[in-house]
């Protein structure tokens, strides 16, 4: 629990809107099977392409499936796949990054060369190349994306690890004769995981986009499992007659990604001091006004 504190402290600084969106996405994704009012894959061609009504709050698609339920279940699909991709990628990335950051020298050079090459190739192309060779499938997608993703967390982990390793408090431990084991597991790894987790959370939005994109291309999540990108591509032929079925999954996905990206942005901007907000300025002025009176009294 104590190790979570720095992460929580950082999270408290991020915008509320982002927290709410991410929280909503995670809650929806986790409890989707209980929240969805209807079976997402029950087809009813008699009710196909309906507008919102009492039975189907957001209408139905061209096969008569309940759009609202499908949107909710899609959150679950997205959450699980993004979680798996990031989980695998981060495990590899943190392991590689901390080892490179701890050892430096040729280990570092080699690993970072690999990471650089990996980073200069768009993750979609790496994933597609793997899928193209191995053939589509759920786990192929997850593994392919993880393969494309780990250089990112690898580089961040390595940067964090190097900065921790160069801090005098690690040098002090080395002078004290601490074993490499102790330095790595008690000081380097916890520090790195904490920092990388925050970046990874911010990166979840881009990962969600990648999952949706692969599904949109028909190479990710396969029907009938509902997924936002795949729902959108399904409805695309009916764009003229029923644009709602294209808009809804697109908006749902965009909203979730906005949540994560807002977090990422606040991390990027946190390094720079901001001007005071009007409310904060007023509070400070009241604080200072109290002092001025003290000064006069004292004299």
């Amino acid at each position: 629990m104590k190790k979570l504190n720095p992460i929580l402290a950082r999270m408290s600084k991020m915008p509320k809107a982002a927290l709410i969106t991410i929280g909503l996405f995670v809650a929806l994704g986790t409890f989707a099977p209980w929240l969805a009012p209807q079976d997402p894959s029950t087809q009813n061609l008699l009710e196909a392409g309906l507008g919102p009504n009492a039975a189907h709050w957001l209408g139905t698609d061209h096969l008569g499936r309940d759009t609202f339920s499908r949107l909710i279940i899609a959150a679950n699909t997205s959450l699980v796949s993004v979680g798996s991709v990031l989980g695998i990628a981060m495990t590899i990335g943190i392991a590689m990054g901390t080892i490179a950051g701890y050892h430096r020298g040729w280990v570092d050079d080699l690993l970072m060369r690999v990471v650089d090459v990996g980073l200069s190739i768009p993750s979609l192309i790496i994933a597609l190349a793997v899928i193209g060779i191995v053939g589509p499938g759920y786990w192929t997608m997850v593994l392919a994306l993880a393969l494309a993703w780990w250089p990112m967390s690898g580089r961040i982990s390595r940067a964090v690890a190097v900065s921790i390793m160069s801090k005098p408090h690690i040098e002090a431990l080395r002078v004290l004769g601490a074993s490499p084991w102790r330095i790595y597991f008690n000081h380097l790894l916890p520090g790195t995981i904490g920092a990388v987790m925050v970046y990874a959370t911010a990166d979840a939005g881009v990962a969600a986009l990648a999952v949706a994109t692969l599904s949109f291309l028909g190479l990710g999540i396969q029907p009938p499992t509902p997924e936002w990108g795949q729902m959108l591509v399904d409805a695309l032929p009916y764009l003229e007659s029923d644009p709602r079925q294209v808009l809804l999954p697109g908006l749902a996905l965009t909203a979730a990604v906005i949540g994560f990206n807002t977090l990422g942005e606040s991390i990027a901007l946190n390094r720079i001091p901001k001007p005071l907000t009007r409310r904060m300025l007023a509070a400070r002025r009241i604080e200072v006004a109290g002092w001025a009176k003290e000064g006069i009294d004292a004299q």
Partner: protein, 311 residues
């Protein structure tokens, strides 16, 4: 300087060789017998004898190293073999498609650069004021909206509802506008953040205090002191985004029925047409290496600190 260029060129060549090796290995390590696949695609009954004949024909029986050398030699001469699926010459297809994708990326990059500079400067000019909020909002929206959704939206808006622009085809500038717009949204959003955050960070540096102490106005400091500081960062980010646009092209080209490389690659992946996947991958990798080389040279020209390391 010359030392740097020659060293950097060597580095790029090594990377190219590595890239070719990766492309080759990927296909070689693919599960399933390629000869069977081809035999089936040709419609003939895949008798063991016929499979053997196919294997002999495409050189599957030679040692790996030989196959690699043969393949690389052909690729350098521009011969990428024959598509398993269509039986057509891959190289002939590539030539046409490269110019299509080139048009897409060049236009997209230009639009993204213009929009991002405008939005980024708007934000840095009035930090945390209304223009900044608008620019940040747009950037957030642009970076969060999936490209395929952007495509669907612009088609619905410009083609379906108002019927202003064609929604598919590659004939003339009019048909280029919507794909350009779609492909530029994400890089424009990301780059505008790079400009905005970079300028803000530069404006918080100690040397800005010196500039202020000179009596310069904020505008002057922004252009004279902050701008040269973010140029190398921007060039770097632009390079990354141009590379990323190849991936975006894979989504955008099929959407607008453009016969580009992205479309070709996607079809190759869908039908597991290894020769096509391999050829496209090699071209993409070459493109990334080239972009990286150009970016490194441009950064060298704009950042005297890096120049010193090579002097």
């Amino acid at each position: 300087m010359i030392h740097f260029i020659s060293k950097r060129l060597k580095h790029s060549l090594v990377l190219l060789l590595l890239a070719s090796l990766v492309c080759f290995t990927l296909v070689v390590s693919a599960p399933g017998n390629v000869a069977v696949l081809i035999a089936e695609l040709r419609g003939a009954v895949a008798t063991p004898g016929y499979v053997e004949q196919v294997a002999e024909e495409i050189g599957l029986n030679k040692p790996l190293l030989m196959r690699y050398v043969d393949w690389l030699g052909d690729a350098v001469r521009g011969d990428f073999g024959i598509s398993y699926r269509t039986g057509q010459d891959v190289s002939a297809d590539l030539a046409n498609r490269m110019s299509v994708t080139g048009t897409l990326i060049a236009g997209g990059a230009a639009i993204a650069t213009l929009i991002s500079l405008a939005l980024g400067f708007l934000g840095a000019f009035w930090p945390y004021k209304l223009p900044d909020r608008v620019s940040r909002g747009l950037a957030l929206l642009g970076a969060s909206t999936p490209t395929f959704f952007v495509g669907a939206l612009v088609i619905y808006g410009f083609s379906v509802t108002f019927q202003l622009l064609p929604s598919f085809g590659f004939d003339g500038p009019q048909s280029w506008i919507l794909p350009w717009l779609t492909v530029s949204v994400l890089p424009a959003a990301v780059l505008s953040r790079v400009v905005r955050v970079g300028l803000e960070e530069a404006m918080a540096s100690p040397f800005v205090l010196t500039a202020k102490s000179k009596g310069l106005s904020r505008t002057a400091i922004l252009f004279r002191d902050a701008l040269p500081n973010i140029t190398p960062i921007f060039i770097n980010a632009l390079g990354t985004q141009v590379g990323l646009m190849t991936a975006t092209a894979i989504i955008v080209e099929p959407l607008f029925a453009w016969q580009g490389l992205g479309d070709y690659f996607l079809a190759g992946v869908r039908f597991r047409d290894f020769m096509v996947v391999q050829a496209c991958l090699l071209i993409f990798l070459t493109f990334f290496i080239l972009v990286n080389l150009i970016v490194d040279l441009a950064v060298l020209l704009t950042d005297p600190r890096i120049r010193r390391q090579w002097s």
